[in-house]
Symmetry: C2
Subunit: 158 residues, 2 copies
């Protein structure tokens, strides 16, 4: 398996153009574009996205959001954690360890990581060392939460 360098993606028009190749183009991207056009964010400022390039082409990405422990309903003891969204590797670049490299990167801060696993992606998350939480209707609201627990951290009970 190759090793892949994960880089934090900058907010600029080049990045936004690359994003159009990804299926899950949504509000975060639109907001970045509007802010850039309106000069609300500076060119090349940091985005919540991380990615892997093959040559000059962005072939995989994810977004990571840090949530304050005040809002933590997942971990015991309650603490800051990362939410991992929009993990996506372009067709033609899958099966090369790119998704794994991105997920591994999310663990390097030593914070718990939470994601909402898409249907039929459970095997992938288990392989990455994540585990499913016990479904709680009021908290999970239809999500399928999988978490990665650093040492000493466990699931928050209802």
């Amino acid at each position: 398996m190759d090793s892949h360098e994960v880089v934090r993606l900058k907010v600029n028009f080049k990045t936004l153009e690359e994003f159009e190749n990804f299926r899950e183009y949504g509000q975060q991207e639109l907001s970045m574009k509007e802010d850039l056009e309106a000069n609300i964010v500076e060119n090349d400022s940091e985005s919540p996205f991380y990615g892997i390039y093959f040559g000059k082409k962005l072939v995989g990405r994810m977004s990571l959001y840090r949530t304050d422990k005040k809002f933590d309903r997942y971990f015991d003891p309650p603490q800051d954690y990362l939410e991992l969204w929009k993990l996506e590797v372009l067709p033609g670049y899958q099966g090369k360890g790119i998704g794994k490299a991105l997920v591994d990167y999310s663990k390097t801060e030593g914070l718990p990581v939470k994601t909402n696993a898409r249907q039929r992606s459970d095997d992938f998350w288990l392989k990455q060392g994540f585990e499913p939480l016990t479904y709680q209707t009021d908290r999970d609201k239809g999500e399928n939460p999988y978490v990665w627990l650093p040492k000493g951290v466990s699931e928050q009970k209802d």
Copy 2:
């Protein structure tokens, strides 16, 4: 426009069978099925789903989850609010006011309502009296939040 009766859906095998007609069949449904099979929930207990029937056929539904004010990042003053998810009307039954009837029902508790508008659904939500919030990266995490504000409630500022 017809008037449509909105009913709270029960957890039972008949409801779960109806749900299979809907596109967004996910973790909430699977969890209900498992709980029912394992006798963790009683047959005909209340679900987070509300729906509209045409005769015996479920043709529209949504889920409503109440979030405690402790976790409110949307409204001022902070308060309990409803999250509206999975609003869906079956093909062939659209354009008859079924979606509107469901959304109207969500307002009857007098609590603020928050949803995550799908792309290109903005017009629909504006017509229902909802308004878009100012996008906040850390709070919204790629969502496109639209809210309905009861009198005296405004948007929570960062």
